[in-house]
C-alpha cells in the first residue's frame, strides 16, 4: 500500500462517542442484575487487546430467572397487547438505534474489530431497518398469509454469534417482538457490549419489563438457555458444529427451532460478466467483515476464458485494501475477532498451502498488537482440498475454475452447506436459470452480501433451516390455525 505521494489520513472516529461502563450486569425483567450463580469475564478489543469492560456470566439460576421473567411478560403484558401497541414500542426502539447510531457503530468496531465504515454503513442502519420493518408488521399479522389469526409461540431463547453482534440481535428480536413473543437473548462471549447498549435502549423505550432479557456468558450459558424447559422456541445463529449439538439436545422436547449456520458459498463469474464490478463483488463477498460472514463468497468459481484476467484484476484491487485500526474511516479490513478464530484461519490457510494450492497476499503492514490476518487468495485450488470444503470464516478466498454453466452449478452445489451463492453475468436469462438450480437459500446476481429486512435469509442442508426477514421470517415466530 505504497501511496508515496498521496497518503490517506488516519481519520479515526472518536471514542468519546461511547461511554463504556466498567462493568455490566445481566438485563433481567427490565433491571440490571448481578449474577446469582454465575461469574464475570472481561471483553477485550481485538484490535488493541485492551480490556473494554467486565461482563457478567449468567449461571443456570440466572437463566431460569430470565426465562421466568420472559414467561410472565409474555402472559401478562406482551402477547395480550394489541399489535398496534406493540408496534409503537418497536418503532421507538428503531428510532433510538438511529439516534444512538454513532455510539453503537464505534462500540461495535471496538468490541468486534470490524471497520467503522461497515459498522456505520451496514450493521447499525440495517439493525434499525429490521426494527422498523417488523414494527410495521405488528398490527398486520392477519394479512401476512399465515392464516386469519396467527398467534405467538411463547418464550424464545435466542443465541447469536460474534460476527454481527448488534445486527444479529436485531434479526432475532425484531420479528419475535412484532409477533408477540418474549425473548431471552444470549450474545456471543467475545462481543456482548452492543447487545447491552441495546438493553439500555429498551429501557429508554420503556419496553415492559421482561419482554427482552439479555443474559451474557459463554457457550455454557447458551447451552443452559436452549435446554431450559421454559423455552418454547430456540433460534440460533452460529457454527454448524454447535447447531448440530443443539438440534441433538432438543430432539423430542417439542421445542421449535431455527438454525442459521455456516456456509461455503460459491461466487460464480461467467465470462460475459461485468468484470470490474465482479471483482468488486468478489472483494465484498469474501473480505467484507474480514470474511467473518456465514454467507461469505469464499469459493470463487470463475470461467476459464476470463480466469487469468479476473485473478490479475483481483490482485491489483487487493493491493489497494487498507488493513488496520477499525476506528479509522479509511480502513477496509479490520481485526480478527479472537485469538481462537485467528488460530483456526491460520491452520486452514496452512492446510491450503500444504495441499498444494498457491497462496498470495498483498504486501500489507500488520499492526503489532491485536489479531490480524492479511487478505489471502488461493489459486489452483482443487475441489477436494480442505480450503475448498471447510468454512474458514476469515479473509481467505479459494479460486476454482469451470468451463461450462453445467460444471459451475455442479461445483457450486458440491458442498455440505447451502446458505448463499453469487452469479455474475450480463445475461439475465442465465442468471435466473443458474440461480434456480443453485442449492442455496440466497442467490445474489451481479452483487453480493446485500441484505434487506424484507428479504428472507436462511440456508439449506448444513447451513441450517428457517428463514429470517420477510413474511417467511415472521412465520417462524407464529402459530397458524393448523398448529394447534
Amino acid at each position: 500500500m505504497a501511496f508515496s505521494r498521496f497518503a490517506y489520513a488516519p481519520a479515526p472516529e472518536s471514542r468519546s462517542a461511547v461511554n463504556i461502563r466498567p462493568s455490566y450486569g445481566l438485563f433481567i425483567a427490565g433491571e440490571w442484575a448481578s449474577p446469582l450463580d454465575g461469574g464475570h469475564f472481561k471483553t477485550e478489543s481485538p484490535s488493541s487487546q485492551e480490556v473494554l469492560a467486565e461482563v457478567s456470566s449468567a449461571g443456570p439460576e440466572d437463566v431460569d430467572r430470565a426465562v421466568r421473567a420472559a414467561r410472565r411478560a409474555y402472559e401478562e403484558t406482551w402477547a395480550p397487547m394489541p399489535g398496534k401497541e406493540r408496534a409503537k414500542y418497536i418503532f421507538r426502539v428503531a428510532r433510538l438505534i438511529q439516534e444512538r447510531s454513532r455510539e453503537l457503530a464505534v462500540l461495535e468496531s471496538l468490541d468486534n474489530g470490524k471497520p467503522i465504515k461497515e459498522s456505520r454503513d451496514v450493521d447499525v442502519p440495517l439493525a434499525a431497518a429490521h426494527f422498523f420493518y417488523h414494527a410495521g408488521w405488528a398490527d398486520k399479522l392477519a394479512y401476512a398469509g399465515l392464516g386469519p389469526d396467527p398467534r405467538p409461540i411463547g418464550v424464545v431463547g435466542q443465541v447469536i454469534p460474534w460476527n454481527f453482534p448488534l445486527l444479529m440481535a436485531a434479526w432475532k428480536l425484531a420479528p419475535a417482538l412484532a409477533t408477540g413473543n418474549t425473548c431471552v437473548l444470549k450474545p456471543a462471549e467475545t462481543t456482548p457490549l452492543s447487545a447491552l447498549v441495546l438493553a439500555e435502549i429498551f429501557e429508554q423505550a420503556d419496553l415492559p419489563p421482561g419482554v427482552v432479557n439479555i443474559v451474557t456468558g459463554d457457550g455454557g450459558t447458551g447451552a443452559t438457555l436452549v435446554a431450559h424447559p421454559g423455552i418454547d422456541k430456540v433460534a440460533f445463529t452460529g457454527s454448524t458444529e454447535v447447531g448440530k449439538h443443539i438440534l441433538g439436545a432438543l430432539a423430542g422436547t417439542g421445542k421449535r427451532i431455527t438454525l442459521e449456520l455456516g456456509g461455503k458459498a460459491a461466487n460464480i463469474v461467467f465470462d460475459d460478466a461485468p468484470l470490474s464490478q465482479a471483482v468488486e463483488g468478489i472483494v465484498n463477498g469474501i473480505f467484507f467483515n474480514q470474511g467473518h460472514v456465514c454467507c461469505a463468497g469464499s469459493r470463487l468459481l470463475v470461467q476459464e476464458p476470463v480466469a487469468e484476467g479476473v485473478v490479475e484484476a483481483l490482485k491489483r484491487r487487493l493491493a489497494t485494501l487498507r488493513l488496520g485500526d477499525p476506528l479509522d474511516k479509511n480502513t477496509d479490513i479490520g481485526a480478527i475477532n479472537s485469538p481462537q478464530q485467528l488460530e483456526k484461519i491460520r491452520e486452514l490457510a496452512a492446510a491450503g498451502e500444504a495441499e498444494g494450492a498457491e497462496r498470495w497476499s498483498p504486501a500489507c503492514q500488520i499492526p503489532e498488537r491485536g489479531y490480524w490476518f492479511p487478505p489471502t487468495v488461493f489459486t489452483g485450488v482443487a475441489p477436494g482440498q480442505r480450503i475448498a470444503r471447510e468454512e474458514i470464516f476469515g479473509p481467505v478466498l479459494s479460486v476454482l475454475t469451470f468451463r461450462t454453466p453445467e460444471e459451475a452449478i455442479e461445483k457450486a452445489n458440491n458442498t455440505t452447506y447451502g446458505l448463499s451463492a453469487g452469479v455474475w453475468t450480463d445475461k439475465g436469462s442465465r442468471a435466473l436459470q443458474v440461480a434456480s438450480r443453485l442449492k442455496a437459500g440466497v442467490v445474489w446476481a451481479n452483487t453480493f452480501n446485500r441484505f434487506d429486512p424484507a428479504s428472507p435469509f436462511g440456508g439449506y442442508r448444513e447451513s441450517g433451516f428457517g428463514r429470517e426477514g420477510g413474511r417467511q421470517g415472521l412465520s417462524q415466530y407464529l402459530k397458524g390455525a393448523l398448529d394447534g
Partner: protein, 368 residues
C-alpha cells in the same frame, strides 16, 4: 461473377477487421492481450465457425466484411459495466479521507492538472487574455502556486491566448470539430481543427459524433477521430465523449475504447454544455478503460473530466478515484486533467487555508 469480393471460388474468405485498423500495430496488441482474450476469441470463434462450414448466407457475409461489423464485435465484446456496482464503488471511494500534508499536495496537483476553461459565446480576446494571466500565475501574491496545465478556449481565440501565454509552460487548448454538438460535415470539422492548429493550439479537444455512435455507426465515429488525429499530428488530442448523452456506462466504455483506438491522447467526459456532465462513476469507468488500454497496448492514454467540478472537495474525490482505479502514474497532468473555471479559486482558497489555518474571503481571489 463474384457477388462480392468476400466470396471467392475457394469458399468464403471472410475478412475481419477494419482495413485501417488492421494496419495499426496497436490493434494487434489489443487483440493479443490476455486482458482482452475474450475479444480475440470472439473474433476467432466467428472466423473458425465460418471456415468450419457453418456457412452464412451471402448477405451475412457481406455484413461481416463491413468494418462496422468487426468494430461492433470488438466494442460489444468488452466486458459490460454493472450500473449499481460501478456507482457503489465510486460512492465508497468518495468517503476516503486525506492526510493534511497530502491535501496540500493534492491541491497543487489539481491546480497543475487544470484546463482553465472559458467557452462562452460572449468570449473576447480581452477575456481570454485575463484568463491566461490567471493561468500563468494563479495567485499573484504566491509564486509557489503552480501554473495550470492549459487554457481551453474556442479556436478563433487561440491567437489571443498564444500572445498572452508566450514564454509560459501553459498550453493552449482549442475545442474544435463543431463544438459542442459536433453536428457538421467532416470537412467543416477538419477545417475547424486546421484553423486551431495553424493558429498554434497545442492541444485539440474534439467531440465525437454522438448521433453516429448511438445509431451504431461506430466506423463513422472512428473515421472522424482518425481524421482529426491526422489533422493534428503534433497536438495533444482529447476526445470528448459527452457521456451525458451516451446514457449507459456500457456506452461510455465502448466510446472510450473507440476514441483510444482512433488515437486519442486523452479521453474526456463532457463538453460542459450537457447535463449531466462529469460524474465520479463515469470517471471511474473511463479510468478503467484508459488503464486497460495502456496496459494492453503500451501507449499511455489520459483522462480529462470536465463540467460541474467546482470545489476542492470534488477535485480531491476525483484524485482518489484516479489513485485507486488507474494508479499513481495517472496522478500527473500528462495523464489526468480537470476542465473547469470556478474550481481554481476554490483550490486557491483551500490552499491558503491549509497553509495559514484561516479562510480568506472570496473577494481575495480575482474573477476573470
Amino acid at each position: 461473377m463474384l457477388a462480392h469480393p468476400g466470396t471467392g471460388p475457394g469458399g468464403p474468405r471472410v475478412r475481419l477487421g477494419h482495413p485501417r485498423l488492421s494496419a495499426e500495430p496497436r490493434l494487434a496488441a489489443v487483440t493479443s492481450s490476455v486482458k482482452l482474450a475474450g475479444l480475440a476469441e470472439l473474433a476467432e470463434r466467428t472466423e473458425e465457425g465460418h471456415a468450419g462450414g457453418l456457412c452464412p448466407a451471402p448477405a451475412d457475409l457481406f455484413e461481416l466484411t463491413r468494418p462496422e461489423a468487426s468494430l461492433r464485435r470488438l466494442l460489444h465484446g468488452l466486458p459490460g459495466v454493472d450500473q449499481v456496482g460501478a456507482e457503489g464503488r465510486a460512492a465508497s471511494l468518495a468517503t476516503r479521507s486525506i492526510k493534511a500534508a497530502s491535501k496540500l499536495w493534492a491541491i497543487d496537483t489539481a491546480i497543475s492538472m487544470l484546463d482553465l476553461t472559458t467557452l462562452e459565446g460572449a468570449d473576447t480576446p480581452a477575456k481570454v487574455t485575463s484568463l491566461c494571466g490567471k493561468a500563468r500565475r494563479p495567485d499573484p501574491s504566491d509564486p509557489s502556486v503552480p501554473a495550470v496545465a492549459a487554457v481551453c478556449i474556442y479556436p478563433d481565440l487561440v491567437p489571443a491566448a498564444k500572445v498572452a501565454l508566450a514564454g509560459s509552460p501553459v498550453k493552449t487548448a482549442a475545442v474544435a470539430t463543431a463544438f459542442p454538438s459536433g453536428r457538421a460535415s467532416l470537412a467543416v470539422k477538419l477545417a475547424d481543427v486546421a484553423d486551431a492548429v495553424s493558429a498554434g493550439a497545442e492541444e485539440v479537444d474534439m467531440v465525437i459524433d454522438r448521433g453516429a455512435f448511438l445509431s451504431g455507426h461506430y466506423a463513422k465515429v472512428l473515421d472522424e477521430v482518425q481524421a482529426v488525429r491526422e489533422a493534428s499530428r503534433q497536438a495533444c488530442l482529447k476526445v470528448i465523449l459527452e457521456t451525458g448523452e451516451l446514457s449507459t456506462y456500457d456506452n461510455v466504455r465502448r466510446a472510450s475504447w473507440l476514441a483510444m483506438i482512433g488515437g486519442a491522447d486523452f479521453i474526456k467526459t463532457s463538453t460542459g454544455k450537457v447535463s449531466p456532465a462529469s460524474t465520479l462513476p463515469v470517471a471511474l469507468v473511463m479510468l478503467e478503460a484508459a488503464r486497460d488500454f495502456t496496459e494492453a497496448t503500451g501507449r499511455a492514454v489520459g483522462v480529462k473530466v470536465a463540467g460541474g467540478i467546482r470545489t476542492t472537495k470534488d477535485a480531491i474525490k476525483y484524485l482518489v478515484v484516479v489513485n485507486e482505479v488507474a494508479g499513481e502514474e495517472w496522478l500527473d497532468p500528462s495523464r489526468f486533467r480537470i476542465g473547469a473555471s470556478g474550481l481554481l479559486n476554490d483550490l486557491l482558497m483551500q490552499r491558503s487555508k491549509q497553509r495559514t489555518g484561516v479562510y480568506a474571503g472570496s473577494e481575495d481571489w480575482s474573477i476573470e
